[in-house]
Symmetry: C2
Subunit: 292 residues, 2 copies
């Protein structure tokens, strides 16, 4: 399916009449080899299809969503491709947290462009997701690059929301499960931004605010609020809800900013892929409607 | 949900309005602690529900099907519980293959009752699946024990078919993905039966034939052929098809025996959980119809 010989296919499985594929490629943005997965629905055999980008959470690779979310059946029904990138640069040359923490470094790129040493040479996940990967995908696969939407979980929900809010002309719609809504105000976000970007939320010319959904909602334009469609699901039994996610703060901020977002609390659901699997059908339908 | 204090709950996640649960319990049949997973659909809150047993393949635990098959949505729609046992006895006292082979010992119990040393003390997976586990499940959970069906993959497909053929009064229906249809005639089966049971297919009073679907079809009674409903899916791109699975031999044997089985070849599908996920909806519908 892929045309460029710098793309190495490392996996291929028939799935719901389409193909679940996996590739390795050299990334010039991240200065390392990267792996991604792409599901091509049966409709891709006949011509270009719309695409959903899925951004995963802490500790994940490109494979968690592919094996656990059960999204392929809905992607096949709607004729949508799904691209799953990895969650950080990888490889022996890529620096990791000194203690191998799960919430910083490898598996925890936070979808930002690092500016601090030693991270800045590799940790440019924002540019990779927004520019390099879509350019590669649109060039190499039967994808209609003008029909893109984005979604994600936890750290990836933060990534999807901040990327869509900063690039509303590129994405028809954005959704998230259990997103980190205000990284500036939670331990995961403060650790990551403090080390990748440096300084704190009030220093550094407000750089942190460019990676914070609550702050981006406050400064959103009327045209963004009018055009970007947003769906968020949050489990009420999520262990991280109180300390890390700040869902209610996003609800309140969106209300003040008159940004219409559909944010739903789901009783009894936790932070796991069992939660994602239970509602992924509704997220795919939401994106499919807006990608038509 | 479970009543007996010897059952230790080790996992619980909300899933499609029901609960995906995981337990540890001491098994008297296997002489070790065992882990199993059980999905209880929302209907189980109101009264006993039918149950499907799922037997996994080589190297699997109780968790592979739970995280990868996407079966919960269909179990919730039909109001069926799904019980997933482990694939062998476990623990420090349980002997394993000396070289840690993937196809014998831990993770490879083959759903037989071992008679040879050192396996016979623990490797009694047949009795565990047929007797001990259902007795525990029926006693401890809101399950209607008179409404049981069974399914499985690869080694577990072999387990499901042989167990149903030997106990047709207990199971309304049986289905399998990529089953080992004739263990007597393939390397996986010959290795397992030779060591768990001893001898060869012609020795040992025909003990091997009691664990071989093709042989059990040959000796099946008319009432079994009339009452037991069978559905099998086999991927045409399955790497193990030629050497290990013997699907065509089962088709031919069933035809000669006048045993009506629905055995389907699925073009392009392989041996993976992507195959199972693609057709699990049809298997759940098949069992649900027969469990009514």
């Amino acid at each position: 399916m892929a045309k460029d010989s710098s793309l190495e296919q490392i996996g291929s499985n028939q799935s719901f009449g389409g193909r679940q594929l996996r590739y390795r490629h050299p990334s010039t943005t991240l200065n390392c080899d990267m792996t991604f997965s792409i599901y091509l629905p049966p409709q891709a055999d006949k011509g270009p299809v719309p695409v959903l980008y899925w951004l995963s959470g802490l500790t994940c690779t490109d494979e968690n969503f592919v094996t656990k979310a059960g999204a392929q059946q809905h992607a096949a029904a709607h004729g949508i491709a799904i691209v799953c990138p990895d969650t950080s640069p990888r490889g022996e040359d890529v620096p990791d947290d000194a203690e191998g923490a799960y919430d910083f470094g490898l598996g925890a790129g936070f979808y930002v462009n690092a500016t601090e040493s030693p991270w800045a040479n590799h940790y440019k996940m924002y540019d990779y997701i927004v520019d390099e990967l879509p350019a590669l995908i649109n060039d190499q696969f039967p994808i209609n690059g003008s029909k893109m939407s984005i979604s994600g979980h936890s750290m990836g929900g933060h990534g999807a929301l901040t990327i869509a809010l900063k690039n509303p002309e590129r994405y028809s719609s954005v959704s998230a499960f259990s997103p980190i809504c205000a990284p500036i105000q939670c331990p995961w976000g403060q650790k990551a931004l403090g080390r990748y970007i440096g300084g704190d939320a009030t220093e550094n010319n407000g750089q942190w605010a460019l990676y914070d959904t609550v702050e981006l909602v406050k400064t959103s334009s009327k045209s963004t609020r009018d055009s970007l469609l947003v769906l968020i699901d949050q489990g009420e039994a999520d262990n991280f809800l109180t300390e890390q996610l700040n869902t209610q703060l996003l609800i309140d901020t969106a209300a003040v900013a008159a940004f219409p977002m559909r944010i739903r609390f789901q009783p009894e659901y936790d932070h796991s892929y069992f939660f994602i699997a239970s509602f992924i059908a509704e997220h795919l339908s939401f994106h499919a409607e807006n990608l038509r």
